[in-house]
Subunit: 221 residues, 2 copies
C-alpha cells in the first residue's frame, strides 16, 4: 500500500496548522486506500496567538503536542520523517507553515526552511518525482525549498505572496478555493483554501478533496 | 433563515471539543441554507492535556480562546447564547463536554451542568420542541440536563456511559459511527462518532453529516 506523510506545525490558523484544512486533508485521505502518517517538529512554536482576541499571548507551545490535538495523538516528531520513504507529501496551511516551519511570513522570497529534515525531504521527493500536495500558504514553503525549479503553483488571488514566488523563479496561477492547480512536470498540486479568509468550509473541503485525489492518482499511476 | 447554535468547550479531544467532530459539524452545516453561530464559555478548562504524551500539563487554558482556533475567531461567549433564539443546537463531543461543561466524566448520572445558561437553553429548547443534535459523549450532557425526560439516545456501544443514562430514565440504543439515532418525540438526534476511538475519519463525517441533515430537516418542516 502506498504511504503519504502529512506535515503539521501546531493547531490553529494564527500560530500553527489551519485546523479545518488539516482535518479536510485527513478526511479526503481516508477515502483512499493509502497509509497516512502525521509529523510535526518537536520544537516550540515561534509565537502563540489568542484566537479570540487575535493578540499574542507570550506563552510557548510545542508544535508536536499541539498538532497531536488534530492527529488524536497518532503523530511522530518531524525528525523521524527521513527514516522512512513516503510516496507523497501533503502540507496543510496556516500561519504555522510561514512562521514555524520557514521564515516566509517575515522574509518572503529570502526566507529559509527552519528544519533541515524538511528541506531535505522536500528536495529528495521532488528529485525522485514523488508528488507534493500543498494547501493555502504551504506552496510558499515548497517554493522556498525548491527555488529556481520553475514551479507552477497557486496561492489564490495574485497578491504579495505570488510576487515573492515570482522572485524565486516560479509561476503563479490564480485559483478559487474549490479549485486546484496541477504542475505535472514538478508533480506539485496546490489549492488556496483559506488564502480566501471567508471561503465557506464546504468549498475549502472541495478544493482539498480534489488536491488529495490528484496526489493519490499520481502515486497510483 | 433558520439559525443553529454550535457549542464548543475548547480545542482537542482530551481536554476540549473533539476537533474533527467540530469541523465535521461545521462542514455539514455549510451544506445547508442555515445561519451558524459558535459559542464557548469564557472560562478556564478544568484540565489541559498534552495530546502527544497523554499527560496533564498543569497549565490553564480558556475555552473560548481555544475553541476560537476551530471557529477561526468567529465565536461568542456562551453567556451570549440566551440573548438570541436559535432554532436548533448542535454539540460536538470530546472530553471537554464531560469535564468542562458538566461533571459527567467524574460523577456519571449524578453529574451537574456547570453553566446555568447552558442548562437553561437546553431545557428551553427541549420544552419548545426545538431540535438538539449531540455527537459522541455530548448526548450524556443532554441526558443530565433533561433527566427524567425519557430520552432515546446513542453513545455507541452499550457500556458504562449507557448504564449511567439508564439511571437517569433514558433509553440507550447501540449504533455504529456512521449511524444516527433519532428520538422523534424529544427531537434529539445523536451519533457516536469518536466514542469509537479508531473510527476512520470519513465514517465519523458520514454519521455527523446524517445528524446535521436530520436536525436541519426538523427545523425546516
Amino acid at each position: 500500500m502506498k504511504s503519504i506523510a502529512v506535515i503539521l506545525s501546531g493547531c490553529g490558523y494564527l500560530d500553527g496548522s489551519e485546523i479545518r484544512e488539516s482535518v479536510a486533508a485527513l478526511w479526503a485521505l481516508s477515502q483512499h486506500d493509502v497509509k497516512v502518517k502525521i509529523f510535526a517538529p518537536d520544537e516550540p512554536q515561534t509565537i502563540v496567538m489568542n484566537h479570540y482576541s487575535g493578540k499574542a499571548t507570550g506563552d510557548t507551545r510545542n508544535m508536536l503536542a499541539e498538532a497531536a490535538r488534530i492527529a488524536r495523538g497518532k503523530i511522530e516528531p518531524l525528525s523521524m520523517l527521513s527514516d522512512h520513504d513516503y510516496d507523497a507529501l501533503i502540507m496543510p496551511g496556516g500561519f504555522g507553515v510561514a512562521k514555524n516551519l520557514c521564515t516566509f511570513a517575515a522574509d518572503g522570497a529570502s526566507g529559509t526552511i527552519l528544519y533541515k529534515e524538511l528541506l531535505y525531504d522536500i528536495t529528495a521527493m521532488h528529485s525522485d518525482g514523488r508528488p507534493i500536495g500543498a494547501i493555502c500558504i504551504a506552496p510558499a514553503l515548497i517554493g522556498l525549498a525548491l527555488k529556481g525549479k520553475k514551479l507552477e503553483l497557486t496561492l489564490g488571488a495574485d497578491g504579495n505572496e505570488a510576487e515573492e514566488m515570482r522572485k524565486l523563479g516560479h509561476t503563479h496561477f490564480e485559483t478559487k478555493p474549490n479549485e486546484i492547480h496541477i504542475d505535472k512536470t514538478n508533480k506539485l498540486v496546490t489549492t488556496p483554501a483559506y488564502m480566501y479568509d471567508d471561503a465557506p468550509i464546504n468549498v475549502v473541503f472541495e478544493g482539498i478533496k480534489k488536491l488529495v485525489g490528484e496526489v493519490v492518482r499520481m502515486i497510483q499511476r
